[in-house]
Structure formats: C-alpha cells, structure tokens
C-alpha cells in the first residue's frame, strides 16, 4: 500500500510538480514514459515518488515516446488507469499512437508541457505541439497556471474514465511559463484527491479472461466511418460531463472553473482571446486599457477539443472587435484559433459579428510583453470605433525586422 504524502495547505510548486502530485494522488496503475524537456520533471518527480514508496502502480521506462504511448495503449486496454507526459518532438513521435488510443476509446491522461517543434530546434514554449494533436480524437484541456495544472490533471481522469465519455484526455500547460514557474498551489490531501477521482472502472479489459476481447481490429470502408462518427459524438457530448465535474470540484475546493473563462466581458467592446499563460498577461493589459477608457475584456477556453463554438459565439455576441492570438506558426493559413473563433460567431443568432484580427506571437518562446498587449488593445479600440479593420487581419508581433502581415 502506497504511503500518503504530507502536503501543506499551500505548496510552492511549478506546473510539472503539480502534475506529478496529481498523477501520484490518482494512483495510476501504469505510467510508461520517455522524458523530454520541459515535461521531464513530471516523470522525474513521479519516479522518485515511486521509488520512495508513494506509488503502488507500475512505472515503465521505454525506448521512445512512440513506445511510451504504445505501452500506455496496451496497459489501458488490459484494464488499468494509465498516464504519461511529453512535449514537442516527443509528442510528435506519439502522434500515430494517439489516434490508436482514441480510436480504441482508452481513457489515458497525457500531460503536455507545450513546446515549439523543430526545425530550428527549440526547447521553449509555443503551442505547435498542442495544435498537432488537435484532430487526434483526444479531449484537449488547456490550463493557465500550476494550480490549474494540478486541478485539471485530477479532473482529466474523471472526465476520460466517465462511462459516458471514455475518451483519452490531454492536459496542456505552457512549457517553462507554467511547467517551471513556481507558484502557490493549494493541493487536496491524498485521500480527498483519490476519492474525488474515484476507483478505476474497467470497460472490456483484456485481462477479463471470461470475456476475451480483440482490440485494434481493421475496419475498411464499410465500418471505419461509423467508428469515427461515434468517437466524434462522444467528444462533442463530453463538455456537459466536464461541466458537472467542474461543479463537483468547486464543491470540494471552492475553485469554480468554467469551460470559457471571461474577464470584464459584461460590457467589453474589445477583447483578446488567447490560451495558456497569455490569459493572465492579457488581464493585466486589459486593466490598464480600462484606465485609458478602452472597454477591454479577455476570454480564454479550458477546452480546445471539443471546441465550445456556441458558448464562444454568445460571449462575443456584442463585442465590437476581437483579437485572436495564436502561439503557433499558421504555415499558410490564418491561425487555427482565429478560424475556430470566426466560425463560432456564426453559431448564434443576433451576433454583431465583431471585427476579427489574428495575432501570431511567441513562437519558440519569444516573450510577449505588456507593450505588445497594450498595442493590441489600441488596435482593437481603433477597429471598434471605425467598425472595420484599421490594420491587416493577420499580424506577426514581436518579430525582428520589417512588419509581417497578411490580408
């Protein structure tokens, strides 16, 4: 039996430590991992917990991230609670197996400390890896700080394993900006956290010898479509389950999360929409913009997949101008978030269809400064007054050299 870990009411943890403790408290049966920066400390801490007797489950060291996710698929099909962590190139190597996991409906939880993709090689944060996993059939949860990393990792197990969901879940945190930034985190006691997550409930475990089961069958044009449709349906329905989990979590901790988090949106005329740690930076800038008379607001989503189209359409219904920030190279299109937000405006009746612009920022960990955010709110204010764009739709900000913009 695993020893319980003495935790203080408030701990000074970075995002990786927060993840590792959440995995420990969920008493995962199998973690198979191949550490990669900046997610390494999740696995490193988990390994020390294991060796110091705080974990009963298996810890499998494998030869690559492809093998890590493959071992996770095997262990989850066998019938256990399973988790791993990765970043960037490691995530890219896992991609093939991510589709296997979701197609087989195995409720694996994957912590991703977001990092840029080579080339050129770069260890710092952007959302390239998060975007790479967008269509893999996993639910994607986004977090803004170490407290959220901890909370969402616990909630991720509950969501993934819910009998009405059974879809694997990724929990994203910004590499270094969240994964290595120490902040106050309020953890639950071990037994409280475990009780919240609950015992693992197996669905068609391979180790049930009375009901042998085949995983990974081939289904050609006659049936492949139906299985993918069924997965899509489960993902779409999962947001209602997540809201229930948010409410249960609030009862336990007093921390009430929402799929969309909004700051000062009640009367906002202009708004920034961004993921991860940029949410908090944008709030600082929005407060400053309010002092200058700009009615500024900020919106983020905790849920990248399924994307909350209708809720987002409602939030921006009366907004006059919205900046959508993408921290990944769009490589020949508008940023992915821009496309999603633009589509969401057509999902609700009576939208004023705000003027939309797309800011590409922070690639490879380039700092996003308050000056950059101030300028965005200035741009938006001009757009709102004119009722039309006063600058190109897509702009690269914080880029050295001549301005780069399109449309």
């Amino acid at each position: 039996m695993a020893s319980s870990y003495h935790l203080n009411g408030v701990e000074a943890w970075d995002g990786c430590t927060a993840s590792a403790h959440a995995l420990r408290q969920a008493q995962v049966d199998v973690v198979a991992a191949y550490p990669i920066t900046p997610s390494t400390p999740i696995i490193q801490n988990y390994g020390s917990f294991k060796d110091n007797g705080y974990i009963d489950g298996e810890f499998v060291l494998v030869e690559s991230e492809h093998a890590a996710m493959s071992a996770c698929v095997g262990a989850a099909a066998a019938g256990g609670r399973v988790s791993t962590a990765t970043s960037s190139q490691g995530f890219a190597l896992m991609v093939e197996v991510l589709y296997q996991a979701s197609g087989m409906r195995l409720p694996i939880v994957l912590n991703v400390a977001n990092r840029a993709l080579a080339s050129p090689l770069n260890i710092h944060c952007d959302h390239s890896d998060m975007y790479l996993g967008r269509d893999s059939g996993w639910i994607s949860l986004c977090t803004c700080n170490p407290q959220e990393v901890y909370d969402f990792t616990l909630m991720a197990f509950k969501l993934a394993e819910h009998t009405g969901v059974r879809v694997p879940v990724m929990v994203h945190q910004d590499g270094f900006l969240s994964s290595h930034t120490v902040q106050n985190v309020r953890p639950l006691a071990d037994h409280v956290a475990y009780k919240f997550v609950g015992d693992y409930v197996g669905v068609h475990p391979m180790l049930d010898f009375d009901k042998p089961v085949s995983y990974g069958a081939q289904a050609e044009e006659e049936w492949h479509f139906e299985h993918k449709a069924k997965l899509h349906h489960a993902i779409m329905e999962s947001s209602a389950v997540l809201e229930e989990i948010f409410n249960d979590f609030a009862k336990l901790t007093g921390r009430q999360y929402n799929i969309l988090e909004t700051f000062n949106m009640e009367d906002a005329e202009v708004a920034i929409f961004a993921l991860g740690t940029t949410w908090e930076s944008a709030i600082v800038a929005a407060k400053k913009a309010r002092e200058k008379g700009i009615k500024a607001g900020v919106v983020t989503t905790h849920l990248l997949r399924p994307f909350p189209f209708v809720a987002l359409g409602e939030v921006f219904k009366k907004t006059k101008a919205v900046a959508i920030m993408d921290k990944s190279s769009p490589s020949g299109a508008m940023g992915a978030l821009f496309n999603e937000v633009a589509a969401s405006l057509y999902q609700v009746q009576g939208s004023r269809h705000p003027v939309l612009s797309n800011y590409i920022y922070g690639l490879g960990g380039r700092d996003l400064t308050q000056t950059d955010l101030d300028r965005i709110f200035e741009d938006l204010s001009q757009d709102a007054q004119k009722g039309a764009l006063t600058h190109p739709t897509q702009q690269f900000i914080g880029l050295n050299g001549p301005e780069l913009s399109y449309f």
């Binding site: 087989m104 409906r105 085949s214 139906e226």
Partner: protein
Amino acid sequence: MKNWQEFEAGAVLFPFEKQGQEELGKHNNERTYTTNSSFTASVANWRVEKPVHNKEVCINCFNCWVYCPDASILSREGKMSGIDYEHCKGCGVCVDVCPTNPKSLLMFDNLESEQEALAKWPQKAEGLKKKSYRTEGGYNGF
C-alpha cells in the same frame, strides 16, 4: 447493417458470447464462436499455392506448428492432422522448416487435389546430409 450507435465503443470485438475461459479449454472446432471471430470466416482467398501434408513421412516434430504464422497447422492427440485451409495464406514457412527427407509438407497448386498431390510425392533424396537440407533450406523436392 449496424448503424454508428450500435457498435461497441473502441471497435472492440468479442469472440465468445459467454464463458470465455470454458470455451478456451476446448478444441477450436468445438467452440461456439461469435461472428466477430474470424474462425468461421475464410481469410485465405488470395492463396496461390497450398501446403499438402503427407502423414506417411511426417515424424510429428511440430516444427511447422511452431512456425506457422496463422495457427493453420492442425493437430490432435499429439499428431499433425492436416492444414486449416480457411486460414492458411500459403506462405510456405511450414515446408521450409520441415526436417524430413523427403519433406512431409510440400507446396502444390491451390487447385490440385490432395490425392493427386500425394501421388506425386518425391522419393527420399540420396546423398543429402541431414545438416545441409535443414540449415540451407534449399531442398524442396522439385
């Protein structure tokens, strides 16, 4: 035709309706398989050549049974009892690993009857050392 709601989540398949362990204790031809299992479905339509087993020569060493990638070598009571032509793909591994002289398994055209094949069986090849035809795998009787 099943609709998308009727499938089991995760595209999983169940070979038995119930009592799997009990079923697994029986010989496969005595089990009650579901249609999810490929036991009753032929997956050998693309075979061009088939192995034929000659029980007069066979020494029941079970090399073929060990090496067959599709579990298509049939056996009962410690003796080889033929080939499962519903699942054999005709890869020829069984012939390659057969250590007897002449071989106890040989490849024939898929359309050739077992009787005709057995009538054509070659004689023992003289002057072949056991070691050479085992390790080089070159002797196939034709």
